[in-house]
Symmetry: C2
Subunit: 336 residues, 2 copies
């Protein structure tokens, strides 16, 4: 294995993908910090909108590793972490290298600018994957370059762009992903398939989705709630894709508070939403194939079941394969 | 992500699993070397019997990284690498840490002892996953401890033991793994499924297998050769598991030189062999279920096909999931 810039960027990428689908309306971003000595000080990601950016999470972990100042671990608010770092860094980051999958933000949003923080800490080399085309946040590289920091752009650009695509689609119009869970042998019937940690992750995604699309057949058969109760999250609006309107309104999904439910036979409704998850099987795959950007599959370490997915003859590219929990979690895109 | 001893050991583990099934009669082993500064100098694995051990591959890469002495890159023979390192190290490894999934070998086999080399290079901390129960090679940790080196044992022991299991089974009796390739939706019919690089890897495994088991139905239907031509390797002996003896002897597998072919209706023949691969589908899975140690599945990024694997309701534990090439490569064991 070659230990080079791509290795450090790959660590950042893998960490960031763990939070894909969870950071809306922010992008999934990962960051690795390498000390002047060559030691990896931190590999962190952005977890959730409103929380610290990947760079701040990484600087926080790196600062603790270098100083053992545990006070910083008690800080959750990004502005407070910025302030503590700026007051206490004493030049420890001066010759560190920072790898980030996305150009550090230039703007003061919910958190202060990462580019300014990195510049003020005296980091001299920043390796960037994708450039930020979001006008509000862009020009972080310019701020860094003007501050005596060398910025190396387009490190693993294709991989970083694939990580960023959901965010870019949201800026442009919306991001649509199709999620399913299957056993190793491709079956989707016969009870609960994926692990509790995978199901929690899906609930956390529902919490930040604004629309969830589901097929009428599934609603009738499974009588689901489709909320985010496993993470105490909010329930997204629902589009039941169905030609018929006659659903038993006692099915739990219809009585979740604060949610709109549409029963429609087309996908026009998507135009009103930004972050859209589809949960379904073979029929939904076919019906939504032309609007889906990414696919997310949970593969459970089991066999059994009778009913296999039948999605035609499509080919995919595996974008990220994660095996931190019991299941294999695969993000992929269809090859056109 | 926590950057600690487990992180460095995990890098060694992931690298080693890439060569699982290829190192027979040696174990798959991985090694990470971290400089005194904390910089990762190398992450390497043992690739093939007769070639350098993981520790030597890692020391070679680390030495080059530290010295830029490209002469060492020209050395393939392990004894020559040992000699060059011992003559030219000038103490550069003295405070390095070495992480190895298996206790460094103590014996002079096809290559000189790794434990002596590590001790003579002055490495002061060695982190070991599994202890070597192979009497010929064991006691590496003792050699190190007697040489002013601190050995930390049982780092990620369960994971390292899972990596080592094939070797231990071979010492004990034999190792049997069941390999199949499928599409994402679990189908195994309708032509070539896995990528060229996956197929080459399977041929490389056949090259070091001594027995390959295949079902009679597959032999009749596919008329395979079952050699290792993609890697110019040797063809293993074949056990065709079949009740009937009447095969068309024009089927290519019967005329590969230097190979024995058995047509038998039982698995008694396994006792005569050490490293045994089974290639098959649903029927072979059922017939061999009680003798298989590990399963190896190549998952191609595609859909299509009609015939799904039907392996019953077994549960697995995913031991390693690799996505370096186009396919996902999964090593797993059945949960009892």
């Amino acid at each position: 294995m070659v230990i080079d810039n791509n290795f450090y960027m790959t660590l950042a990428l893998r960490e960031a993908w763990k939070y894909q689908g969870l950071t809306y309306p922010n992008p999934a971003v990962g960051c690795t910090i390498v000390a002047e000595s060559g030691e990896i000080l931190a590999v962190e990601a952005h977890h959730k909108a409103g929380e610290s950016h990947a760079e701040v999470n990484a600087l926080k972990a790196a600062y603790f590793k270098l100083t053992n100042d545990s006070y910083i671990l008690s800080l959750q608010n990004s502005a407070n972490i910025h302030t503590h770092l700026l007051s206490n860094h004493h030049g420890i980051f001066e010759n560190a290298k920072l790898y980030t999958t996305l150009e550090p933000c230039s703007h003061q949003g919910k958190t202060p600018s990462c580019a300014n923080l990195i510049a003020e800490l005296g980091i001299k080399e920043v390796y960037v994957g994708s450039n930020d085309r979001n006008k509000k946040a862009a020009n972080g590289s310019l701020i860094l370059s003007m501050s005596n920091c060398t910025v190396y752009s387009e490190i693993m650009k294709a991989e970083c762009d694939a990580l960023l695509l959901p965010f870019e689609k949201i800026l442009e119009s919306n991001f649509v992903f199709f999620k399913w869970a299957q056993r190793l042998n491709g079956t989707t019937d016969a009870g609960i398939i994926s692990s509790e940690s995978s199901r929690k992750q899906v609930h956390a995604m529902r919490d930040v989705c604004d629309l969830l699309i589901i097929g009428g057949g599934t609603v009738r058969a499974d009588r689901p709630t489709l909320d985010a109760r496993l993470v105490d999250g909010k329930a997204p609006d629902i589009l039941v894709l169905s030609r018929k309107q006659d659903f038993d309104k006692m099915i739990p999904l219809f009585s979740v508070k604060g949610r709109k439910v549409f029963i429609e036979d087309n996908l026009e409704r998507l135009r009103e939403y930004k972050n859209i998850m589809i949960e379904g099987g073979s029929q939904m795959y076919a019906l939504t194939r032309n609007v889906v950007n990414y696919y997310l599959c949970y593969i459970a370490p089991s066999l059994g079941g009778e009913q296999s997915i039948k999605f035609g003859d499509d080919k995919f590219e595996f974008l990220n394969v994660d095996k931190e929990s019991e299941d294999i979690i695969v993000w992929m895109k269809r090859r056109i």
